[in-house]
Amino acid sequence: MKRRTLLLGAATGLALQLAPHVYAKRLKATMALFYGEETITVGRVHLKTPPLAENGNSVSLVVDVESPMTENDYVREIRIFADNNPVPMLASYQFSPAAGKAGVATRIRLSNSQTITAVARLNDGTLWSGSSETIVTLAACVDPLL
């Protein structure tokens, strides 16, 4: 491989990493798209993803929400967002009190290094969120401009 090609590749890679403030803006925009003017409180949602993922095609994700899961107080829905992905909403999970526990473990795709956010909606309508950061060394979508 020529040195020029290598340099070009490195430069492209750097350009694709978004600065934190740009990222925060995008996250806000995505949240506004899905939840409008509703308040989202940080807390109660525990999201775990590996700090470093070698392959973006399969990244383990565990999310748990503190909730008694009774008829009067339960988690209705959890949504997973990854803003740098071509489709930012990765999945949504619906729960009923019969689940006993509001938690799910799955494997997701990440197009590049980013913050993943989980938003839970309780039966009383309130929204709670938790996030986690993952650095991806090999992206899931090879062409990130799509």
């Binding site: 095609n57 399969s58 990244v59 899961m69 997973i80 990854a82 992905n85 071509p86 489709v87 909403m89 990765l90 999945a91 949504s92 999970y93 619906q94 729960f95 009923s96 009190p97 019969a98 689940a99 006993g100 526990k101 509001a102 938690g103 799910v104 473990a105 799955t106 494997r107 997701i108 795709r109 990440l110 899931a140 979508c141 090879v142 062409d143 799509l146």
Partner: protein
């Protein structure tokens, strides 16, 4: 579609069980290209449902951001003996349904 389900065969009433499911599916996101550069069309499982006692316990709606061979681990509170139903629906609307019998035992003996 080949599926695998891990669920205990017996439980005590009130136990919270951990259920794990895996479906064999490529989950083509529609963003990737093949060896000759042609876009691989999107082909994903859209939904997964778990029902127990005629009631929905857990439902997952996937987008292209779910990894190939979608794995899910979730919970269910054991109540009465009966079937636990697992349903996968892909984007063509094709349903794959599986049943597992859950027996409830007393903790007396």
């Amino acid at each position: 579609m080949k599926t695998r389900i891990s669920i205990p065969a017996t439980a005590k009433k009130g136990d919270i069980l951990n259920i794990k499911t895996l479906a064999s599916h490529p989950m083509h996101s529609g963003f990737r290209r093949d060896a000759i550069g042609a876009l691989v069309p999107r082909d994903i499982i859209n939904r997964f449902r778990c029902e127990y006692q005629g009631q929905l316990v857990f439902e997952a709606k996937f987008g292209p951001g779910t990894a190939a061979n979608p794995f899910l681990s979730f919970h269910l509170r054991a109540d009465e003996r009966g079937n636990v139903v697992f349903i996968w629906i892909d984007q063509q609307g094709e349903r794959t349904e599986e049943l597992r019998f859950l027996d409830i035992v007393d903790d007396e003996y």
